[in-house]
């Protein structure tokens, strides 16, 4: 059915086109009429009435065109003659493609040829004049027009090329004269891409690069590293193989960092120096003595920290857990400077020496520094700690199991049977109140200090019933009498489906320690002793 509809619609369109064509033809608008016949023929190829219509109107339009061309030619309007003829040729060729040949008046061809002779000669001379006057844009238009009419006319191709490329070539020269070498390069590159053999453009591109390279190197000598890096970078981007450019570009980029890093190393800012050297190695590989100096900076920037964990009365095992969690966390950062030291045997001795008195025991600190090279002590003090594994509480509850009963008259009634089910409740908890301090081993200065608290809890509440759980309703007690509690049915169903699993107190403790040790480790890692 759809196919039939489509066929009918196409047929209808063709008829409408033909009808319109007749109207245009009657109005003397032969070109429009011919256009419509062409469309109709495209939809219904070979249709006799449309083909004859096209032949008739096309010929009439062609005759009109011939008259217009002749008139223009006689007025010496050669431009109109040429474009009129070309348009007429295009029209005839379109009509021919539909299988209709029109009778051609060949006198117009002679007119066209003569008009071309005069018009192209005039335009060619004008184009040359415009080129002489350096009006390249206008010249390009003129030669493009000639090229579109007769591509092989005299030296049109070359002139067209000149009018297109010469402005770019000259623009490049102007940039070069103003010492804007890279802009010059870009303009000449455009010329080169269109015609690599245009004048000396290839050589000029090289010269622009040479000059920019020289400029960059001079700035390098003058130690204007930013300017040098910009200039050499541009050359490097375009010509990575340009002799020495990579080395000099790297020098321009990294020499100021190298110098600053060396100075930092000298003044004890070893960590900053280390990062500087590292960035140079990343960028330029082995630049000067960077690798050696980086090692030196790393060695100098070492920050050995002794972790002293205070007592946690009655929970020594948990205190050890905390220490382990903190140490793991600190090590996970792979900080190149931080080294962790633990003194399990002397922990309490040192801890008391450093923390218990109002001012740290300098002797003990010195002992840590001299004996172990410790630069700072991370002291962990616990204030309050609670870990509680709750007991599973069990409650026997009264409920009703409801059963539907179908009566003989078709109605449904319910039979509520009183039953017992069990409800369970359990709660686990871990909480810690603590503080940490990072104390300089050199002078007892407190470098970092913070009080932290944390709390983790988990609980479970569920119910079990051996019978049909879906029919189980809670009961409500009024005056020692139980009745079905329809309102809380869903609450009970939720309890019946609840998970009976619960995080243990140890798991809660581990999570808590993880959170707190993460905060402490982050603070220690971010601490820069050089600031």
């Amino acid at each position: 059915m759809i196919f039939i509809l489509l066929l009918m619609a196409a047929g209808c369109t063709v008829k409408k086109l033909a009808k319109q064509a007749v109207q245009f033809e009657q109005a003397g608008m032969f070109k429009d009429a011919a256009g419509l016949y062409l469309q109709a023929l495209a939809l219904k190829p070979g249709a006799f009435e449309y083909k004859t219509g096209l032949k008739r109107t096309g010929q009439l339009y062609l005759d009109e065109s011939v008259a217009a061309i002749t008139s223009a030619y006689n007025r010496n309007d050669y431009q109109t003659t040429i474009y009129g003829y070309r348009s007429m040729q295009d029209f005839a060729s379109t009509v021919r493609s539909a299988g209709v040949d029109l009778d051609f008046d060949y006198s117009t061809e002679r007119m066209y040829e003569k008009a071309c002779e005069v018009y192209l000669s005039e335009r060619y001379e004008l184009g040359q004049k415009l080129l002489n006057e350096q009006s390249f844009g206008e010249a390009e238009k003129v030669f493009s027009e000639i090229h579109s009419i007769q591509p092989e006319y005299k030296d049109t191709r070359n002139y067209l090329l000149t009018s297109t490329l010469e402005p770019l070539y000259q623009k490049g020269s102007n940039h070069f004269s103003r010492r804007n070498f890279m802009n010059a390069y870009k303009e000449w590159e455009k010329v080169y891409q269109k015609n690599p053999d245009y004048k000396d453009v290839k050589m000029r591109m090289q010269e622009a690069l040479d000059e920019r390279y020289k400029e960059g190197t001079l700035w390098l000598i003058e130690e204007d590293f930013d300017a040098a890096a910009a200039a050499l970078g541009e050359v490097y981007q375009i010509a990575p193989d340009y002799p020495d450019v990579k080395a000099r570009y790297m020098e321009a980029r990294n020499e100021p960092i190298y110098r600053t890093s060396k100075e930092n190393l000298k003044t004890g800012k070893c960590r900053t120096a280390y990062f500087g050297f590292e960035s140079i190695i990343k960028d330029a590989g082995n630049y000067k003595e960077t690798k050696v100096l980086k090692d030196e900076a790393l060695n100098c920037a070492q920050f050995p920290v002794a972790v002293l964990v205070g007592a946690m009365p009655q929970h020594n095992a948990d205190a050890a857990e905390f220490e382990a969690a903190l140490t793991n966390r600190l090590l996970s950062y792979n900080d190149p400077f931080l080294k962790i030291h633990q003194f399990p045997d002397m922990n309490s001795k040192f801890f008391q020496a450093v923390a218990s008195s109002r001012s740290p025991d300098r002797k003990k600190l010195k002992e840590l520094t001299d004996t172990y090279g410790i630069k700072a002590i991370l002291m962990i003090s616990f204030a309050e700690y609670e870990k509680n594994e709750g007991k599973l509480q069990k409650f026997s509850r009264t409920g009703f199991e409801r059963q539907p009963v179908r009566k003989t008259n078709g109605e449904t009634s319910y039979y509520d049977h009183q039953v017992s089910y069990t409800e369970y409740l359990k709660q686990n908890k871990a909480s810690l109140e603590m503080s940490y301090q990072l104390v300089s081993a050199a002078n007892g200065q407190i470098l970092l200090s913070q009080r932290l608290t944390g709390n983790k809890e988990d609980q479970t509440n569920y119910a079990t019933y051996q019978g049909n759980q879906k029919n189980l309703y809670p009961a409500k007690e009024i005056n020692n009498t139980y009745s079905i509690d329809l309102k809380n049915y869903h609450s009970l169903q939720k309890l019946l489906k609840s998970d009976d699993r619960i995080q243990s107190a140890d798991q809660l403790r581990d999570d808590l320690f993880e959170d707190l040790s993460k905060k402490i480790a982050k603070a220690v890692i971010e601490f820069n002793p050089e600031k």
Partner: protein, 456 residues
Amino acid sequence: MKFYTSVILVLSLIYSCSPGRKVQENNLISEAPSWVRQTPNAADSYHGVGMALKSNQQDYRERARQSALSELAASISVTVSASSVLHQFEFDNNYSEFFRDQIKMSTRQQLEGFELVENWENEEQYWVYYRLSKTKWEQIRQERINRALTQSQAALEQARSFSEQGKKADAIRFYIQSLEAVRNFLGDELTIATETGNKSYAPALMADFINEIRDLKFVFPFETLRFKQGALQNTTTLDVKVTDQKGNPAAGIPVITKFSWMPASEQVSFTNANGVFSINIDKFKSGSSNGQISSAPDLQWLVENNSEDMLIHKLIDGIKVNTFILPVEFIPAVFHLSLTEKNLGKMVSNTGLEDEIQKLFLQEGFKLTTAIDDADYLLEADIDTFTGNERNNRFSTNLNATFVIKNKHHTIVYSRSVENLPGLGDSYASAGLNAYRSLLSTYRITVYPDILRTLF
């Protein structure tokens, strides 16, 4: 449901595709006379039938009349005789068509001798029928030819008289008037009676006119004009005399002059009372060693200023005038180079600069000499380098250069300085030489084009 929708669609398509109502045939002119339905074709006359609709038109009678007369005029054929001027001067078919159109247009404008045969009207239309007897028309036409010939001959007499007196511009003006007088009959074989019998008129007139134009002779002051390139700093004037073949000066003649090195440019000038016109030659640069100045009478100007008749313009357009050529020889400028090249204050050679300068001059067609007296221009260059900075055994220098060009009279005609061109090297000396490389580029890209722009 789907079925009904489809049926409605098909029906609506059938309806939309059906042809419109047929317009009922108009029987409005069924009772009209026969000349309304078909224009008469009796051979003894030219006929014209015109119609105008009455609706909303006050001037329908006049419109119908014009339409009828147009048809009548169109039926009068225009022929181009084999012995006419158009054939004799080998105008092409296109021109003949143009000529026919022009004649038809003037025939319609000057139509006379016709008679109103009849008119007929109904509620909507007004019809009119005119007729012109062929015999009568031939008579009218012959009278017109005679009048035109008389008028043309009078103008021709005048033209010849002015020509005898050497007043060429006036002579040409009257030749054009003479042609204008017979313009409607240029396709006919126009004859005049002479002592030796009948003689073809228009071709003779045309030949006379062409001879008058071609009689003009241009006398340049030189056989060849020689220019030293770059020597022309201001406009130079060249006086050219225009005479007839007897040597009498031709005054008031418009002249068009073209220069081979300046395409699409032309100068228009007029000869003075002594038959002299001036050509102004501006400073120029030519890419070749030879050129030419060509001058010719500006026939187009003469025609356009003496006739508004398109037919006459077209007729004279086809006449080729003599062009007079003055060969021009461009003598290349000769340069002498004097370079003082120093590096850190010490004289150096083989920097490549001299070779570069020479190469560029020779490429442009200039000549070089080692003898100062033979040179048109002396290029003096003074170059030296100065120490810059040093770092990590890298040395830099700066180069300063001045380029001065003097003419034969030792007057400075060009001067330019180049400063602080950088050089790099592993010593100051090598850096100095390296700076010369930048100078070479700068000279070629910046200085040399500037020299050409300034001097040539």
